[in-house]
Amino acid sequence: MRAPDDTTIKAGQTLLSVENVSLSFGGVKAIRGVSFDIKKGEIRAIIGPNGAGKTSMLNVINGFYHPQEGQITFKGVKRKKMRPNDAANGGIARTFQNVALFRSMTTLDNIMAGRTLKMHSNFFWQLWRYGPAEREEIEHRHKVEEIIDFLEIEHIRRVPVGRLPYGLQKRVELGRALAMEPELLLLDEPMAGMNLEEKEDMCRYIIDVNNHFGTTIALIEHDMGVVMDLANRVIVLDYGQKIADGTPDEVKANKAVIDAYLGVAH
């Protein structure tokens, strides 16, 4: 069962804060003492050169990696480390930089898999696909169809996702994350490898999700134009360290950021 949210967080309050997090793999320091927060309702971008530690940061937030130092506070609960299950249960959903879909399953089943934590019928009923299990399946199918409509992917509902082009795979992956009805949505380069039209569509979906459902979004993106359009606030990482944090305009004007992007030696 899910714990009731006794601390409902209102828009503009801190939803997640990361304090002094450090993470290393053997000798490689992927993240060095990074702190930042994400406020409810905002779109927060994380940018930085390749290898800066952006993906590692998302992995820390959703519990795939456990930092050696620091802590994470999500919805007022402080943790030394998240576990993937805590994260998913608490309402954190994500997509992956290199698309992690259930390749042999259809679009519909992939998105249905996003409903896992919302389904509760027990083993016995499921065996017979009867009674509560059947009712539940129908009810969740309804929700999933709404998401499919929203993302305009009706035509590929029954296609195994392994056969879809990359751009559509990314869209299905977003759909699966949305099916979790998350409070915090982590998107790792959602537009990488897309053509212009696909990028525009994806931007629109992200804005719509944020506007209509009030979902808080943390987004890693390379395309600065996109970041400037979408994000309320931006964190810049470089060599595992936070070198800037502020509105897109502030960040754009920041000397350290310009240096990092132009590859000036440190």
Binding site: L101, F102, M105, A113, G114, M119, S121, Q126, A133
Partner: protein, 324 residues
């Protein structure tokens, strides 16, 4: 017979066996049937491997001993005076306890270790189960409680092609039970939420974790499913011969099936098992004498390898397209 001197050997390999098949169709049909029954049991063993491999990426060396252990538990409980069907349920319960313990003691602590470590761990599990089995049940072969489980014995026979074909009722039962089991698993995995979660885990661990699927729970379920398959295999195989630790080597029969059908394909395990079973029996009867017997220990591998020459992607694998 019709083989003339310089072509004697070629003729004996490529002509005589087919002539015999045509000439004595009753023996041929009998051979096919026996191959099919053997193949069904190979399919079941391979299915146990595939279930575990798909969901946990572990090549479970212990699947063979699980067959023995399940059958021994059943027979052992019955010999203690437990009624046969209750013993069956309890044996299934023991397989659940085993699945749960494996998840806790083996998989969970080793989850991020390389696959080879997990593979070695299943070696350890094998020897642990052998030791435990001998300790509890003793090392002597036992008789399967066939009658007590109301499994029919005896044979049906009918005239065919100038001779008689005999079908053991036991074998017919094995076929029926195996089919029901496979159909049941197929429905479970394709239609239920847990089945969907299982397929999800098989496709991507990290994506499954990200949507809140519990790997631990899924592992218990697949190991339990593999345990149930082992129990059924053990009953059927045990009824045809006896229940002993020697049964464990039937796990080796699963390897060529897996080579043929792929490690992750359930249809591959089933069809592969049937092909190997039939091929092995036909080879043994028609070509075995030429090679002086002993053929059954390696023929299955030959069949699998020969097949791979023509279909390198295995039975149901997608066509491998080399990227250049």
């Amino acid at each position: 017979m019709l083989c003339v001197k310089p072509y004697g050997m070629l003729c004996k390999i490529f002509v005589v066996p087919f002539y015999e098949m045509w000439d004595l169709p009753d023996i041929f049909v009998q051979t096919l049937w026996e191959g099919l029954v053997g193949g069904t049991l190979y399919s079941l063993i391979a299915l146990g491997f595939v279930l575990v491999f798909k969901a946990s990426g572990v090549f479970n060396f212990a699947q063979g001993i699980m067959v023995v252990f399940a059958a021994l538990s059943l027979v052992g409980l019955h010999s203690l005076g437990v009624p046969a069907f209750l013993a069956l349920i309890l044996a299934a319960g023991i397989m659940f306890v085993l699945a749960y313990s494996v998840e806790r003691v083996v998989l969970r602590p080793l989850v991020n270790q390389p696959d080879i470590i997990l593979f070695m761990a299943t070696f350890g599990l094998t020897y642990f189960l052998i030791g435990l089995g001998e300790l509890i049940f003793g090392g002597d072969p036992k008789v399967m409680i066939t009658k007590q489980l109301y499994i029919p014995t005896g044979a049906l026979s009918f005239d065919f092609g100038g001779g008689r074909v005999e079908l053991q009722k036991l074998d017919i039962t094995a076929m029926v039970v195996a089919s029901i089991m496979v159909a049941g698993l197929a429905v479970f995995f394709s239609k239920t939420r847990i089945g969907r979660a299982l397929r999800a885990v098989a496709d991507s661990h990290k994506a499954a974790l990200s949507v809140g699927i519990s790997l631990n729970q899924i592992w218990v379920i697949v190991w339990f499913a593999a345990g149930l398959v082992a129990l059924v295999t053990g009953i059927m195989w045990g009824a045809r011969s006896e229940v002993s630790f020697a049964l464990e080597i039937i796990a080796l029969k699963a390897l060529p099936v897996l080579i043929l059908g792929g490690f992750t394909s359930i249809p591959g395990a089933i069809v592969g098992g049937l092909i190997i079973g039939i091929g092995e029996k036909v080879g043994e009867i028609y070509w075995g004498p030429l090679l002086g017997g002993g053929i059954e220990s390696w023929l299955a591998y030959m069949i699998a390898l020969a097949f791979l020459l023509f279909r390198p992607q295995g039975l149901f694998g997608e066509k491998i397209i080399e990227r250049v």
